[in-house]
Amino acid sequence: MAAFTAPGGTYHHAKHPLFGWFMVVPAIVGLSLFQFLPLGTAIVDSFGAFDPFDQSPTGWGGWSNYAAILDDPIFTSAVINTVAYIVLTLILTIPLALALAVLLDRRLPGTTFARCAIIGALAASEAVTASIWNQMYEPSTGLFNALLNALGFANQPFITGDNQALISIVVMSVWKDVGLPMLIFLAGLQAIPGELRDAAALDGAGGWRTFTRIILPQLRPSLVVAVFMVTINATRIFTPIIIMTQGGPDWATANLTYYAYAQSFEFTSPGTASAAVVCLLALLVIVTAVQIRLLRPAKGG
């Protein structure tokens, strides 16, 4: 391995042939233990048969677990819900995070407070946040319905209505997690050279034109990272579901993650749970591939 240069000078520890391995082994071990081993186990288990009482493996199940979940209408609903979580979260989070980042970048009065509040929400425990929002959404005694009543509107079944529960979870999730993509955008904005904006201003470009023609294209790398991170978070959203709705009403808020959990922990079926996890992984690969294609820079651009 070649020597590497640090601010203080050039180091030559790397002359030992095992030095490179020594540096990467912890990462390899960590990834193997906590990423690849569980993934491999899930794939193997998805073809296994299990004792329903102690969940010990009892043999080879072939494709039966996949056949079972594909035959389950709740699985289909969970796939659709997973996609709905991804799409709705992206639609709400990315523009909001970008808007917040632009506002915070202008260093308006109260910027520090706003930044602290947004990062505070991001740092808060997901379980605690979900519990608080659960109380605010509570149909009979919650804050939101009290406010609606005070304004003369009828109670809304935020987390108890088939049509509102999923979006209510998304709103809570966006409120909590918007801080991370916002920070990514903020870093991207602050990396854009001021000369570009100055040049646009000299050319007579207005604020909107500068934003769409200068700022936004410069933010493409940040946008790609933010979209991927939000997508992954939206795909594996779990804590708010289990705390606020337990997948209900009538499985309307159950995504693939919750479906896999329920299969394993509520219905003692590790085989179908693993099959659902593999399907979730496949879905994530497809969604990410589509995003890579859509976000790829145009040829020559």
Partner: protein
């Protein structure tokens, strides 16, 4: 021992660079010798005067019933081991005064058997069944786990719980109330020990009824003399409207369910099944809808279609749904509404009455107790928290002995004195005069004596986990017929894995 006299230091263990960088034969042998001497020394040191005293104390014969050193209640297994033993016990968390009481029981046990260490894990009540399942799957479960007799068939079929017949005297087992014992047994072998008796009836706030101008329900212990579901719903409606005319709009006719983790669909076995299974008919011929509605499942424990989606069951769930649709009770979990005086009625057990009778525990209103609403019968499930010994517990006799000690007469009476629930054994209930003299206690005894088993199936865990969200959905407005049919289809599919 301080670090400077570690046995391995002189043999090279304290000099790892020389061993790692230049592993000569001498250094390797030195290291092996160091490890050997360290192990030998630690083994010798483990036989300390304290542990010798412990072993001697453990080996001493006892003078209590059965020749044990403590009153081990119904225990009749071998004398306990003298070598060090660690027992793990997983149970639900209780209020501090009850946790203190249980800790004092452990202290007495370990004082008599100082070689036994007890490690306890407390989990939220609603999470117990899942925790049991996860622990069993892990292959390293606590020796004693707080189970429930709803799941006895699974404990038996899955070889999860130790059969306790060999560890408990027949007299002790016979003393358990018949229906609780049957629920905890398979083929006359006890798999878990009923901890208390589930007695669900209704409390009412006399002041709120009077304010609403509604007659209070009958305060009886004869279950046939309580209100029917129609009378009950009608009374709740009149309480709500009566209070509203007096300007009281922040009071509920029925408090949110305090069972499980609270709210609708939190504990089908104890709470919501009342509305369904009370519509069943104990006199109906086997296989008829009335019979199956009461049983909740086919006799072979494999099919719920035709049992939970009968016209009777649908009517039961329509009644239940009316509570929420008409704003008689909250649609979410809200704790302690009745105790706070903001609900006119609540479903609860006898421990509520006991709580009210404790110094400082009386509520700020007058209260009464009445049977739960009556369909063709007043339904109560004989479900009970029931600790079990894990079938693969490394020290089954010691675990069974600890469990038996916790369940001896004195400890159970102390438990029920603090917690207030009804004992699961006849001889204990006989020692508490209130069960013969006070109406709420007489009502509890009558409810306990007229209880029905949870649906008997090895897959009750699946059943329970489908029914809870189902009744919650119905509470929140789903069509009862459609949801019960879907639930039956789902449960039937889930039960197929047990064939």
């Amino acid at each position: 021992m301080s670090s400077h006299d570690l046995p391995g230091k002189k043999s090279g263990l304290a000099d790892p660079p020389s061993l790692l960088n230049n592993p000569s034969r001498r250094s390797v042998l030195g290291a092996i010798a160091g490890v050997g001497s360290a192990v030998a020394a630690s083994a010798l040191l483990s036989v300390s005067p304290l542990s010798l005293r412990t072993a001697a104390a453990a080996a001493m014969p006892g003078t209590s019933k059965g020749g044990y050193k403590l009153d081990l209640g119904g225990y009749r297994g071998p004398e306990l081991a003298t070598e060090p033993v660690t027992l793990r016990f997983m149970r639900q968390d209780y209020p501090p005064e009850l946790n203190d009481l249980i800790n004092s029981v452990y202290a007495k046990f370990t004082a008599a058997y100082p070689n036994i260490t007890i490690k306890e894990e407390r989990v939220p009540y609603g999470d117990l069944p899942k925790k049991v399942q996860v622990y069993v799957a892990s292959g390293s479960a606590p020796d004693i786990m707080m189970g429930r007799n709803d799941f006895t068939l699974a404990y038996h079929a899955g070889k999860i719980a130790l059969p306790l017949q060999d560890y408990f005297t027949p007299e002790y087992v016979a003393d358990i109330f018949d229906n609780a014992r049957e629920a905890a047994s398979v083929d006359n072998n006890l798999y878990c020990v009923p901890w208390e008796t589930n007695t669900v009836f209704m409390y009412f706030n006399r002041d709120l009824f009077e304010k609403a101008g509604v007659a209070t329900p009958p305060e009886v212990s004869d279950l046939t003399k309580g209100w029917s579901f129609d009378e009950y719903l009608d009374a709740l409606r009149r309480v709500k409207s009566g209070l509203a005319t007096k300007g009281v709009t922040d009071v509920w006719a029925l408090a949110a369910s305090p069972y499980g983790n609270g709210g609708p669909g939190s504990n089908y076995t104890q709470m919501e099944s009342i509305w369904v299974r009370a519509q069943g008919d104990p006199a109906a011929p086997k296989g008829s809808p009335g019979y199956l509605t009461l049983m909740g499942i086919s006799d072979d424990g494999r099919k719920t279609t035709g049992a939970i989606d009968t016209p009777e069951a649908i009517q039961g769930m329509k009644n239940y749904q009316a509570l929420f649709k008409e704003g008689l009770t909250p649609t979410g979990a809200v704790a302690h509404q009745f105790e706070a005086g903001v609900a006119a009625t609540v479903f609860g057990g006898i421990n509520e009455a006991n709580l009210f009778s404790l110094p400082g525990g009386a509520p700020a209103f007058k209260w009464g107790a009445t049977p739960a609403p009556r369909g063709k019968l007043v339904f109560n499930a004989n479900t009970s928290d029931s600790p079990m010994v894990w079938a693969k517990a490394p020290h089954p006799a010691e675990a069974a002995a600890l469990l038996a000690y916790m369940c001896n007469d004195a400890n159970r009476i102390d438990f029920h004195r603090v917690w207030g629930s009804m004992p699961a054994r006849k001889s204990l209930t006989d020692q508490i005069p209130k069960y013969k003299t006070d109406q709420p206690y007489q009502l509890a005894a009558a409810v306990g004596a007229n209880s029905y088993s949870a649906p008997r199936t090895v897959g009750y865990f699946d059943y329970f986990n489908v029914m809870n969200p189902t009744v919650k959905d119905i509470a929140l407005g789903a069509d009862p017929a459609q949801r019960l049919k879907a639930a039956a289809t789902r449960i039937d599919a889930l039960l197929r894995k047990y064939t």
